[in-house]
């Protein structure tokens, strides 16, 4: 689940997120931004991948890419 204390700024090409705890700025492209926004705690990685598939009209759910992105989010401290 995405941390609720992050400063999330929307720009035309994605999100710019400031983490006050680490004093770091994260730049998320459209896909990463969508995945981040879906990290509400209600959907697991599989459901998120399905949502991405639908949003981008993909033939298959990008399970591996989503899992990798979520791992990045966790490593960067963006998830609670």
């Amino acid at each position: 689940m995405a941390r609720s204390d992050l400063d999330v700024n929307e720009v035309p090409d994605g999100l710019i997120i400031y983490d006050g705890d680490s004093d770091r700025v994260h730049y998320l492209n459209h896909t990463a931004a969508l995945i981040f926004c879906l990290c509400t705690g209600d959907a697991d990685a599989t459901a998120i991948a399905q949502a991405v598939r639908t949003s981008f009209s993909l033939e298959a759910a990008p399970d591996e890419a989503v899992a990798s992105t979520l791992a990045d989010f966790a490593r960067e401290g963006l998830l609670a």
């Binding site: 400063d7 720009v11 035309p12 090409d13 710019i16 400031y18 700025v25 730049y27």
Partner: protein, 266 residues
């Protein structure tokens, strides 16, 4: 702001720091500085009657006056939520461009080029931004020897006075037949300026690239970093984004002009 200067030599030099740009913001704070003394005896600089500095040279007087004014102004601006960014701003017709770049990237050279192409160049060193609104910081353009060399064909620049002992000319566009207006409002285009040894070129870019550039070029005063990121993101999201590679060919101002005022095709 009022400055009282006893010594005519210091007065003449300090006068060269005064700019006559047309402002659209109401003054909120009044500063009263006074400079007492002479070149032989030394100077004392007072701010609202309080001693601020004792200095021995004319350059030190100029520096003390300049730093006091701008430091106070930028602190007040920061307290009011304005973010100061290293950059230039110019208006061409209905479009308004903010150019962000590090020191020595070529902002002043580009600014003078745009001035000669008919732009209202608002600032060449820094601007303030808040909620995607932009206003140029009112300061004479500082023309360094390197800029003069690059603009050898612009003979009028040699009429621009220097101030103090530094070889820097201080340009007030309104003293040379150009307009100088400082509007407060949105921009239409945001450009990251980079220097190149190759031919000048301009490329479309993304808000994220420009936001990174803005953050890198912020003069942080009192604001927390989250405010810096927020205001940079607001500005980046508000305009078309580009990267301008300025080469020694002098073409960069023309690229900017064509970008914002494309020629009509009959």
């Amino acid at each position: 702001m009022a400055i009282k200067v006893d010594d005519p030599v210091a007065f003449a030099q300090i006068s060269l720091m005064v700019q006559r740009a047309k402002h659209h913001l109401d003054a909120e704070v009044s500063l009263e500085l006074s400079v007492e003394g002479t070149l032989d005896a030394g100077y004392a600089v007072y701010d609202n009657g309080d001693l601020y500095a004792r200095v021995d040279t004319l350059d030190a007087v100029l520096d003390a006056v300049y730093m006091r004014i701008y430091r106070r102004a930028m602190e007040l601006a920061s307290l009011k939520g304005w973010l100061r960014v290293h950059g230039a701003v110019a208006s061409l017709g209905a479009r308004r461009v903010a150019v962000v770049g590090a020191g020595a990237a070529g902002k002043t050279t580009l600014s003078i080029g745009l001035l000669e192409l008919g732009a209202n160049v608002e600032c060449d060193e820094s601007f303030l931004t808040r909620n995607a609104q932009v206003v140029g910081v009112a300061r004479r353009f500082h023309i360094k020897p390197g800029t003069l060399e690059l603009m050898a064909d612009s003979a009028w620049l040699r009429d621009v006075p220097t101030v103090g002992s530094l070889p820097v000319r201080v340009l007030d566009p309104s003293e040379h037949g150009f307009g100088w207006d400082l509007p407060v409002g949105p921009i239409t285009d945001l450009i990251a300026l980079r220097r190149t040894d190759e031919a000048s070129r301009i490329e479309g870019s993304s808000a994220q690239v420009l936001v990174q550039e803005i953050i890198a070029q912020v003069f942080a005063v009192l604001e927390p970093r989250r405010v810096i990121v927020r205001e940079a993101a607001r500005l980046g999201a508000s305009a078309r984004c580009h990267v301008l590679y300025a080469g020694p060919d002098g073409v960069a101002p023309h690229l900017v002009k064509v970008l914002v005022t494309p020629p009509r095709v009959p």
